[in-house]
Symmetry: C2
Subunit: 301 residues, 2 copies
Amino acid sequence: MSLLVTGSIAIDTVRTPFGVSEDCIGGAAVYFSMAASFFSPVRLVGAVGSDCPFDLAEVFAGRDVDLAGLEVRENSKTFRWAGTYHEDINKRTTDLLELNVLAEGPPSVPDEFRDSEFVFLANTAPALQRQLLEQVDKPVFVAADTMDCWIEGEPDDLGKLLKKIDCLIINEDEARMLAGRSNLIKAGEEIIGMGPGVAVIKKGESGSLVCKGGGERFILPAYPAAEVKDPTGAGDSFAGGFMGYLAKVGRTDFESLRKAVAYGTVVASYTISEFSLQGLSSIERSAIDKRLEVLRGVTQF
Amino acid sequence: MSLLVTGSIAIDTVRTPFGVSEDCIGGAAVYFSMAASFFSPVRLVGAVGSDCPFDLAEVFAGRDVDLAGLEVRENSKTFRWAGTYHEDINKRTTDLLELNVLAEGPPSVPDEFRDSEFVFLANTAPALQRQLLEQVDKPVFVAADTMDCWIEGEPDDLGKLLKKIDCLIINEDEARMLAGRSNLIKAGEEIIGMGPGVAVIKKGESGSLVCKGGGERFILPAYPAAEVKDPTGAGDSFAGGFMGYLAKVGRTDFESLRKAVAYGTVVASYTISEFSLQGLSSIERSAIDKRLEVLRGVTQF
């Protein structure tokens, strides 16, 4: 089935204990699209400024990523982010955040994308996420990400969004904040009560937890990566693998959700193994299936 | 096979958001023995003072826990610990720590325990752990726990201990500290290089990770507990289930280690569901097997 993503396209500068990657391509929609493209065609909606140094057609060459929803705005500048990951690679500091084009109105969903069935609304203001979602006619399964600043700053807008989506994909700290619960199982159930039928809670190197109404639960560790070079984009790659797999099989029953989480986990493990998109863009689909079997192996008893 | 544990017997006072449990029974050897007794006979070695309000024979009534190694010291006082768990139940403050009998010489291993095959040395000074281990003739599989103060304060003693044991069971923060590595997979491998063939890293509500020489790995989430009343004793109960299962099957191949970790995980989930020993002491073995199947169910894809 068709899969649409709305989200950022970024110029990133990333420092980690393993080196520096200056002015490299990043952004939620980019990581998501690359990850999802291993499973399903992707329709990308996002905006850049005229300063954008990347040719996205080239970035996605050979992959089924439709760029009809890419807006290049003449008088705008591309979103920029710079960050430093520390010795404990789970901790990062934001060095620079220039919203630029992201502070303007959202891009439009092209007419030919309005029939999209699977939709991922990457993190942005929940009012904008709703505005984007309203441009899709009859989506089958809508997932969204959000973050602390919207949970604290725009709770009403976020509440409205949650009633319109099927799945919230969220970090553990933010899940606790949104639910007002420190126990993650309870937090997941609380979030489901806010609207989405499914809550996917990302726990970084500790993996992820899926809660679905009716008490269904799935817990999966992260892929056991001995080397993490650059965690940037892990969450959006996870979401890309997750949604890409669901769109491919066209089902969202719990068995499919489990497998989608496993694929998301494996895809994210490639993202963090190198800087920027290098880890993801250098592999074949067969590598993903191999790691899926490794992940199955290390989690079975 | 026979299973020996050496460790503390404590008078605990525990405060959690769910209530207070004053002067209740605790201590590593107690939690370990109760947990292991579901699988295997246990030989307990530990000391209390004459003030000890607990009749351990009664505590372990109906269970195969041999108390021949229990020393009641006339002029000593029992170890006391008091702590408070906060709203985020993963965080705790120590309110009181009276070593008392633990600050004296270690108890002796009775002659009839010297032929023990499986041994667990609960956390104490590594020099004492070695002294206790020297009283066992030809152990087959020795596991030990340790903590930050010994890693920082007694690195040489700890280094010597690590060369004498087969398995280190350790918290994630302490594993990182001991190995000088933030990546847990690398930390596990580093620890194996220090002597023990197996490293079991406990990650609290995120489960556990097992590393064995030759690159073997197993990762298991915690049991999905929606209510945690009192986390005290979780780690020692985990170790008890783990070692109890291994002693029962008499094997330490990787398949057995995986299953032992799963049993440890489930047993610990009962410990944290109530204060003190109440969660563990009120269940039947069949309940453990039921939760094992639930755990298998929520982790399969």
